[in-house]
Symmetry: C2
Subunit: 338 residues, 2 copies
């Protein structure tokens, strides 16, 4: 009986978008799934009523968990996590640590979610940092996982190796890839190309036992392939990952905007736009914590929230966190390095 | 009487593409400009003949400078520069150091061109490394300068500051921007966002006297604007710059490919494609050397070579290298840090 806690108060459009996303998800998720709406009870009830209430068929699958406080987007993460102990975010994660929930989804303050998840759920042994794994659309038709996409700006070679292990499990459990191909983002294919950290990470990944295909380059990302074939996971530090992601997210809409400006006829454009619609990928898991914590964009639409709930549901169904624990225990290099 | 030395032997399609580019440029560059074709004299003469010879009107503006050796794409840069002293690259750059030429353009081995340019032309005082400045198309209709785009993978905060000064002069002299707006690529707008090196560079740039507009993010690049308005220069380390550039170059063609696949009508698409055609931007100057050294893509077409010759011509006309020297002397922070 999977239980997913949703931070009803998190995100620029909360609680309207979060409640709407939860209502959408109820019709799609396995019927055994319960959604736990965490936040200010009166605001949640008012919003539910405004949206027509929970349909009778789903009533038993919705719980409201009162949390009187809210971590704002502008709050300093470390301070907020310590001082706002009755916030929807801290309460939602604590429920999971206490065995009363199986996953947490939020579109709130990302820094606070990372800090709270790390403190409350704790990291798997062998890890020094969690990483955000983001799905990136490719013209192969299926996305790849890029990580870290923003949790860690300065990364050691050992952390890049850890991301390889985390990304491999994500690609298996959420994308259904077998023996996923892991690439290391660099500035040339050859092992001797890259920053000092990347060159050392290359050696660690090559010796890891992962299906490491070597260095990949910026132009490999949109194709989801590299010189060695399909690419399932791209490992990079969170600085590069964040820049790449924000650039990539902005290029497709820009080109579509120009197409309209240049009066290109739009038949068929919609299915193409859908391919680059980030809402379809919903949330990005914070990988490495003992549990499930899904990070959504602050501007998440109801569809994005719904899809994040799907990711949470898949992570629970595959017991992804336990899978990560097993993988790391079988990875002596990670343990030797941590 | 500007003289531009062109490495006739450099690039995947040399000498056919380089000679064709030179012939195209003769009709467009100021009539006082001489092009010095550097390379194996017999091969250059044969290729010129194959392409119909130099038109009589331009004959006095073409020189052939014999250089018996060629640095191959696969040669190790530092070794090649020392051992192939009669290569087209070394000979072409030495001509400039000896006052017999005003600029050098090559589509050959980039690493070797950087090494040879630094050794033969030497760096301006106050600099520790040269940087490659690349023009990036934006939907503002005019490009911005991104640097470093690949010369330096690990950069100190002081080097990022130096790139700010180099980029400012490039934006003024080649793009004609007044008081160019300089942004620092990071993972958030706030000064406290970014890697350790980027945060320190932010402080240095803010105190530099440059028109520094603060941190910019990945999504600002395709628009050529940021929260503070127009953006003329984006400063980043060569690792991030290289990844961004290769990703950006590949996204537009990918989307155009999908448009065709999705059967989108193509009226007007050509002018849009032209906007993303990197050949129009030709070459990227290696900024910081005492002289002019323009780096072209190995796969440069004749048009790309022609446009690189234009960039060289502009750099000579504005005496860009002297301008850089003046700027750096007026920048006490750079000197204090170097």
């Amino acid at each position: 009986m999977p239980r997913i806690a949703l931070d009803a108060m998190g995100g620029d459009y909360a609680p309207a978008a979060t409640i709407a996303g939860a209502l959408l998800a109820l019709g799609e998720l396995p019927a055994s799934t319960t959604i736990q709406l965490v936040g200010r009870e009166d605001e949640i009830r008012a919003e539910l009523q405004r949206q027509g209430g929970v349909p009778a068929a789903y009533e038993s699958r919705v719980e409201i968990v009162h949390a009187p406080d809210v971590i704002e987007m502008t709050d300093k993460p470390s301070v907020a996590v310590r001082s706002k102990r009755e916030s929807s975010m801290v309460v939602g994660l604590r429920m999971q640590a206490d065995g009363q929930s199986d996953a947490f989804v939020s579109a709130g303050n990302t820094g606070a979610q990372m800090a709270a998840s790390t403190v409350i759920l704790r990291l798997h042994e062998g890890l020094t940092r969690p990483a955000i794994g983001t799905l990136v659309p490719t013209d192969r038709g299926v996305p790849l996982v890029m990580l870290d996409s923003g949790a860690n700006v300065d990364c050691s070679p050992q952390e890049l190796l850890q991301f390889g292990w985390l990304g491999a499990v994500y690609a298996e459990d959420i994308l259904g890839r077998t023996n996923p191909a892991i690439g290391l983002l660099s500035v040339g294919e050859e092992p001797e190309k890259g920053s000092l950290a990347v060159k050392e990470a290359h050696a660690l990944l090559a010796a890891s036992g992962l299906n490491f295909v070597g260095n990949v380059e910026g132009h490999d990302i949109p194709h989801g392939t590299c010189a060695h074939g399909a690419l399932d996971v791209v490992v990079c530090d969170g600085f590069t990952g964040n820049v790449v992601l924000k650039l990539y997210e902005s290029v497709a809409p820009m080109i579509f905007g120009l197409l309209v400006k240049f009066d290109v006829k739009q038949d068929g454009l919609e299915s193409l736009l859908a391919m680059f619609d980030y809402a379809q990928y919903g949330g990005a898991p914070l990988l490495g914590v003992r549990g499930v914590s899904i990070i959504c964009h602050g501007k998440s639409s109801p569809t994005a929230i719904k899809n994040a709930l799907h990711v949470a549901s898949l992570a629970i169904a595959h017991d992804m966190s336990a899978h990560i624990g097993r993988s790391l225990r079988a990875a002596p290099v990670v343990h030797g390095a941590s």
